[in-house]
Amino acid sequence: MNASLGNPPAPSPASSHVPDAQGRFGEFGRRFVPETLMPALEQLAAEYDRARQDPAFHAELADLFKYYVGRPSPLYFAQRLTAHCGGAQVYIKREDLNHTGAHKINNTLGQTLLTLRMGKPRVIAETGAGQHGVATATACARFGLNCVVYMGEEDIRRQKLNVFIMRTMGAEVRPVTSGSRTLRDAINEAMRDWMGSVDNTHYIIGSVVGPHPFPMIVRDFQSIIGRETREQCLAQLGRLPDEVVACVGGGSNSAGMFYPFIDDRGVALSGAEPGGRGTQPGEHAATLSFGVKGVLHGSYSYVLQDADGQTRDVHSVSAGLDYPGVGPEHSYWKDSGRVRYTPVSDDEALAAFSLLARLEGILPALESSHAVALAMKAAANRAPEDVVVICLSGRGDKDVYEVARVLGQTI
């Protein structure tokens, strides 16, 4: 393997038939974890394989999606945003209307059903801003599972509301005081817990990251977003969209949105990365735009690290995108050229946050605001008959304190 980027080989078209049995998305993915975890990953892969072929599993998940989450989420025509952009018609996939206010619940319910099938009574999870923690606590409350959520001490302070919600739902929130005290340390801590508890515990990872089979499982559960969007486009517009835009931190909402469109070559796929406040290391978390190939949290993907292989500190105004790695399938899509990834700055995201609120009466999460900002540029450069779809991965209630602080206002 070449440690440097060098000259990338000519891209080969992305396939939707990934990963293989070793967890490879092209060259990316795989498993780089301590031996202690390998049997648990093999057990999870085998159980997921069985579940996938079990109609009862699919029926139960579909039932939960419909009656508990409130799916399908609407595909909404944003008339005033469209007029504002002055180009393509802009549609919004409303994942913010899901129970718990974001796409995260799609994955946690699926993985909770897997936990039950494996007969494990305890669930652990990591969370950054708290959205995945809340979605995990919610699913565990629904099924009576013991739930522990690891959260960086710094994030606990910043996201008191979500901490309170998790505790109200019966989850234990464990502060992480090691390293940078943020999401990546929460993942390290959850992995450590799992090393000592694999017998009775399932780790519900929150994004399409980590060792195989996690990137595949999370993508598959989140793919409900893209499947619905595809069907809704065909039903409401009579055709597929021209471009689909989603934000990419670890990359779960975007993977779920993009995956069902991978074989639709006429649909452009665009990922909005957290561009932060600059292009220098430490000023952003745009892993695919500025990163190198490397290993982090059990998989081989693009990462933000220094010349020694140490993870770099990252920044984003949005806590949910503030991650120095990215799912291996995104790295595969980037190198194959199937998805285009573009950094969106803190300021652009904040402007999109306010604009969507004023033009459409929708308060987007700061994460999703990155996708809104990128989609507005795309729409402005397209013809009026074109259709651009934004994945609005979550609602922005959780962000109002942070936005007010950044804008110098008090609530």
Partner: protein
């Protein structure tokens, strides 16, 4: 003499260790002392520096294998302390290496600080963080170890680098193993590189004359263990408990069964780590394992330099005292029944 044959040309370099074994050994198999042995003290240059070139570990039989064969023939266990490079700085690390060698360590594991360790518990992670806070780099570690292992320096036992795969991959596997070999390392432990992904690195390590040590966990099922054994060299690192590194009260019973089973599967030496911190635990492993690895309990002493402002000398002395006790326990021969 078979015993001496294990050492061959490296005998002079290891003279201090040969002396130690001879003095404490009761097997009657110890070789006659060379004129120099017994005369080299810590910090002194050994008389026969000209052997430097021959000392490069590039033979089919590694120095790690040699250590274990010698100890196995004496029915003793190897004592393998672990320390973190650069905690709190590389000068202390090198002084610690000398102190551990003087405490009869048979192999020394040197942890390369990593920003996101998964397998390590809080004590070792904190030591990585302390070292990284001081901007420790991989080239600086290699340079310090190269200086410490140069032929003119007092001899050290074989050194094993414990490194996250991220660090190896970033440098390029081939380059990393070459630089590690040139710095004087004899082996590599890569705790987050499972056997399934280790083929390429194993080949490169073999080419460079380094052992790539594989790990077996309590959760490893027998068919996986058999595959891992097939890919291993040097020794097998047997993780005593499911979980991360760290001090634990007692070793689990299932470990005994696993070690006994592994003995039927491989002639590779078995070394037990994760949670080993007291001489009594070493006694429990006698007859089951060929070596013990002690990490967190030692690193704890060094943490005091930064955390409680303990003087460097006192902290090193504390670590050396524990190492001496653990080494004595490991080197104790089983009582004949």
């Amino acid at each position: 003499m078979k015993w001496r044959g294990c050492w061959g040309k490296r005998f002079d370099r290891r003279s201090r260790f040969c002396r130690t074994r001879r003095v404490s050994g009761q097997t009657g198999k110890a070789p006659p002392a060379t004129p120099q042995s017994g005369t080299i003290k810590m910090g002194e240059k050994p008389p026969s520096c000209s052997l430097g070139k021959q000392l490069v570990v590039n033979t089919a039989r590694s120095s790690i294998t040699d250590v274990f064969s010698r100890l196995q023939s004496q029915r003793r266990m190897a004592f393998m302390p672990f320390i973190t490079a650069g905690d709190p700085n590389l000068d202390v690390t090198v002084r610690l290496l000398r102190a551990l060698a003087a405490s009869d360590a048979d192999l020394i594991e040197i942890g390369f600080p990593y920003s996101d360790p998964i397998a390590d518990g809080p004590v070792i992670q904190a030591s990585y963080t302390r070292a990284l806070d001081k901007k420790i780099t991989v080239p600086a570690i290699f340079a310090a170890i190269r200086a410490a292992t140069q032929p003119a320096a007092a001899p050290l036992p074989p050194l094993v680098a414990m490194t996250a795969y991220s660090i190896i991959f970033r440098r390029g596997a081939a380059r990393f193993v070459e630089q590690a070999r040139d710095a004087g390392f004899s082996g590599l432990i890569v705790p987050d590189l499972p056997a399934d992904e280790a083929r390429e690195l194993a080949a490169q390590a073999r080419q460079a004359g380094l052992d790539l040590i594989q790990l077996i966990a309590p959760t490893t099922p027998p068919e996986r263990a058999a595959r891992i054994v097939g890919a291993a060299s040097g020794f097998l690192y047997c993780i005593s408990v499911a979980g991360t590194t760290g001090v634990r009260r007692e070793l689990p019973r299932a470990l005994r069964d696993q070690l006994q089973w592994l003995k039927t599967q491989t002639s590779l030496p078995l070394a037990v780590g994760f949670g080993v911190s007291r001489p009594e635990q070493v006694d429990d492993l006698r007859g089951l394992a060929d070596g013990v690895i002690v990490g967190s309990a030692l690193v704890h002493h060094i943490a005091a330099i930064t955390d409680q402002q303990v003087a460097v000398d006192a902290a090193i002395a504390g670590a050396a005292k524990l190492a001496t006790e653990m080494a004595a326990a490991a080197h104790q021969q089983p009582v004949a029944t």
